[in-house]
Symmetry: C2
Subunit: 361 residues, 2 copies
């Protein structure tokens, strides 16, 4: 069959190699899984209860309007219902946004070495990526804005806090960034890790601005990466059109009810964020002890500067030999780092013990 | 923000109004839900056990290669691993197939009044729908094939068994249909209801033919419509490119393990199919008792000819007043029917009692 012009020109790539593929190659499961920024602290007990309560409904399609989840989000965020669109993870929403905003050839500005699924979504609709190198420790906001103007971009993408650096932009820095972007450029702010940051700009902060689309997920602080629920928050004129192409019944019904329940357990989310902060401090101390530097982070992971990409690759392989899965940023200048998710205390101890052995070799 | 040319031209439609929307309008839940061809018989106990066993993993992303589910399907179907792509429901796969095969303006031939999500997927990528009216009781295979030739279609879509008629095509009829389609036209056979049919062409039957894509789901006989897992079965050259654009981690992790477990419980699936046959017979008898005709069906629902679309609408409203949710085909000639899913014996009894009251008014 002749493929569509866009898909015929695409390589067979995947944004990430799943750890399960590495496990099958090495012939055994990892004992410690700290490479995908998943939450070792797990979901709220209320979410698990909601799953149990909804088991009798798995033969039914979900309410494709997501009415109850939107109501819970309206309560939680103080926005209106039409500022929200629910989707199957931020990945799913990025794919939908690319389709809604991009014509083939339209340019999208992002950081070189930033979130690969965003890039995958853009090339999947024939968009063109224009990449701006990271600064030493995080995204180059001025560089991204300048490039957006220079290439007449349709979209500029920024993760805040950022993955894989962990860097966080204050509301002031973000406002200045947004002000510096031309009025016809959409600004996607990927807030997957927002709940770990010291403070988040209020949900209403940019709702008046049709350029700004903020993305939030139940994958990280709410501990449900495998469940696939996230939401887009923005002006109705911008997020509303996602309803024209999204598959209405695609959110899993257990995920749907678990997300509603999770929102009602903010103490759990706060506990996860607090435990995560402790873990980040532990990693920072460990890095210091080993003569290394941890990059500033406000996420559930830490990038540790190990002095170069060859050394980073070597450490990842040595950790892998010990059953510990982590990853590294793939592009300079961040590829001088390894990136390790904050796990449970015992997982962090296993990582620390291994690092003490191998980082001193 | 300027929308993409394709999305700017789209209406704000949804393929289906969810029953929950009707429930909120009428101010109360339906007591009996027989309008969405969901399985009242539920999923396999093995699937529920798999969900319990996987609860400790919901904070993790699924294995995006779907290795274990593909292995289970290879065992079950006797195909090769590269004949399969897993997706979030047939809806999700239809969206992916539309993107992989269609350029804007490409024509897709389908039945007028057939599965609306297929149409939604096609217009969502700028494809053009060309519709062929149903025969009295099911799809017009000769008409579909003739139209595919006449308009130089890129895709022809056929559901077998069909929704909303319930009609089933034998392997001979299907082979003749496929032989009559030009060599450059993709043939999507939506087999969502295949496990209810008296016999299904073997998985290997058309694997040599890159035109044929068959779609199967865990939504119907396996009782997991809310979980969102399905698969495309076909030639590697045709299904393989779905891997270039699918979102790799979009299948829910509980759905993934539940699907693997479901495949291992074929006795449950066979029991559901058998109970469904009994329910169809009950509906057929009921129709006869009321002086109506049930269309031939090999699915988990029955279309009952009530003599006209006004009468069908009236009956649906009257059933709704009694807390019973059903639907009807929207296009002639099938819109002379109501369509009712096979429910549990007690649900069928409530439907029958209500029909005896209102269909004799």
């Amino acid at each position: 069959m002749d493929l569509s012009l866009i898909v015929a020109g695409l390589p067979s790539t995947t944004p990430f190699t799943p750890p399960e593929v590495i496990e099958r190659q090495r012939g055994g499961q990892f004992a410690v899984r700290l490479g995908a920024n998943e939450s070792s602290f797990g979901a709220s007990p209320l979410a698990f209860q909601a799953i149990q309560d909804a088991l009798g409904s798995i033969q039914n399609y979900v309410d494709g309007t997501h009415y109850e989840l939107k109501e819970a989000l309206v309560d939680h965020l103080g926005c209106a219902e039409d500022n929200l669109v629910i989707g199957p993870g931020i990945d799913g929403l990025l794919g939908q946004i690319a389709r809604v905003l991009l014509n083939p050839g339209d340019k999208v500005v992002t950081s070189l070495g930033g979130y690969p699924t965003m890039e995958y979504a853009v090339i999947g609709v024939g968009g063109e990526l224009v990449k701006v190198s990271y600064l030493q420790n995080g995204p180059d906001l001025e560089g991204l804005a300048a490039m957006a103007r220079e290439v007449d971009a349709k979209i500029v993408y920024l993760a805040n806090p950022d993955n894989p650096s962990g860097a966080w932009q204050s509301q002031e820095a973000l406002s200045a960034f947004i002000d510096s972007i031309p009025s016809h450029v959409a600004i996607i702010i990927d807030e997957a890790y927002a709940e770990f940051a010291p403070s988040i700009p209020s949900a209403s902060k940019w709702l008046h601005d049709p350029r700004v689309i903020r993305l939030r997920t139940f994958s990280k602080v709410y501990g449900m990466a495998g469940m696939r629920v996230a939401y887009a928050l923005g002006h109705p004129d911008t997020v509303g059109p996602l309803n024209r192409i999204r598959m209405h019944f695609e959110v899993n019904i257990l995920a749907y009810y678990a997300a509603i329940a999770s929102l009602k357990d903010q103490p759990h989310a706060q506990w996860v964020a607090e435990e995560t902060r402790k873990g980040r401090e532990e990693y920072r101390s460990l890095a210091g002890e080993l003569g290394l530097t941890a990059l500033p982070t406000e996420t559930n992971f830490v990038a540790i500067d190990v002095g170069g990409s060859d050394r980073a690759k070597e450490l990842i392989a040595l950790l892998g030999d010990r059953g510990i899965f982590i990853r590294m940023p793939w592009a300079a200048p961040l590829n001088r780092c390894i990136r390790v998710s904050v796990g449970l205390p015992e997982e962090r101890m296993l990582f620390a013990d291994a690092m003490r052995d191998i980082a001193r070799l």
